[in-house]
Assembly symmetry: C2
DNA sequence: GTCATAGTTTTCGTATACGATTTCGTACTC
DNA sequence: GAGTACGAAATCGTATACGAAAACTATGAC
């Protein structure tokens, strides 16, 4: 479920390849926030010309991963705490909605898989492996969203995740105190889904799950 | 508040101009869904070369207004009823959230302005002016969102609106029966905001306001 | 009359080239 | 020593050009 680096078949356009390559580098942390993305340099690294690279960068800009300034250039976006707040708040809303929409379509087997992921997360806590924990956290929700009936909302969720991923090596980090609660909330969420709770209850729980992490962050800064 | 056609100052990059121009044409209905956007042709129309046009089209694709297929070309997106459902559902969620977030920041003067817009909408109903009604409807919500504290969510709202606008001349239309209810719901919403109702109540009302239109549409097709 | 096939045309995809703008470094002035 | 002005370098923005893929059309076989 981890994103493979993808040196995809030549059937993909170069702009597509450039997009995937730069995006991967941002998400995996090679290019950290503030890193200057010089078109010519990236083009040379990837082995093709600037036009497709430029297109890729603009696409990343549309997703909020890159900040582009006219006649100046592109940089990896966003260490701004305000931006973090916006992203988390938005994510809280769309994740809540995605969970509520998906819940009625989740079968017991899927619940079991999600529970297995959550169990792994518990183990990560014991061995203190925050990187894997974060990845699993995303996997957990991905499992829940597998049958999400609205791809638009799912897309918004993914965009939010990407944004957060790009902030990985910045000031916004894994909060140890939250992690244990997070695992507990996951289990509570699964039980709500199993018991076919009404959409509203599930949405609130899922929303709160994300919002609590934001609150934990805000608490550390105030 | 209506979008002026904008033959903006030459201080804007051509790709930016192309983006605005094509977007405007889609939203105003010159390019209807299915219309084929040939890069070379648009470039010639606008008086510059294909590269910036290409970039503009890709940007519009990211916003969902255009569908782009490798080695085939671009067409104006989306008359698909499914797509309409996704968009409306998403819009219901993000508008609900935007309204709830904005509500505490709305002052009496703003309420008054919103009410004035709503009054105009009532008059539009009497003269049967659906085009203006639709525009005013957007204005109404724009007024409410003026102080929305989360620009990301506001951006999602605008994207949804643009998508809907692009569908204007398609099968999804002004539903006369809904319009009267819509005006009533606007007033109810204003009263909730005035009375400082809790965020949850406001969010539900705003969400339902959009969802009801979707339901009305679905009722006509079933 | 329908289907398959080959050739033509259209259109996209990307490389290269050059002009425009910004930035950075240096020298000069106060 | 601080600030400003000028020039050089870096980088972006767009035009043009050509190769590649797909779509269209016409021709022929069954």
């Amino acid at each position: 479920m981890t994103e493979t680096a993808v040196e995809s078949a030549a059937t993909e356009s170069k702009s597509q390849q450039a997009y995937a390559a730069v995006k991967a580098r941002i998400i995996e942390g090679t290019y950290t926030p503030g890193y200057r993305l010089v078109l010519a340099k990236i083009a040379e690294d990837l082995g093709f010309s600037v036009v497709p690279v430029r297109e890729a960068i603009r696409r990343l800009e549309a997703e909020g991963l890159v900040k582009f300034e006219r006649n100046v250039g592109a940089t990896v976006a966003g260490i701004d705490p305000t931006e973090y707040l916006y992203t988390m708040q938005t994510l809280s809303i769309v994740e809540g909605a995605a969970t509520a929409l998906s819940a009625p379509l989740i079968d017991p087997a899927t619940i079991a898989r999600a529970r297995a992921v959550n169990q792994e997360m518990r183990e990560c806590l014991e061995h203190f492996d925050p990187v894997r924990f974060t990845a699993l956290n995303q996997d957990f929700h991905s499992v829940l969203f597998e049958h999400c009936p609205n791809p638009h909302i799912l897309d918004l969720v993914h965009r939010g995740w990407n944004r957060l991923a790009s902030l990985r090596s910045s000031t916004f980090r894994f909060v140890p105190g939250r992690a244990q609660e997070s695992v507990r909330e996951h289990e509570a969420l699964l039980q709500l889904i199993e018991s076919a709770a009404d959409a509203d209850t599930i949405e609130k729980a899922a929303r709160q799950h994300r919002a609590a992490t934001l609150d934990a962050y805000l608490a550390t800064t105030n």
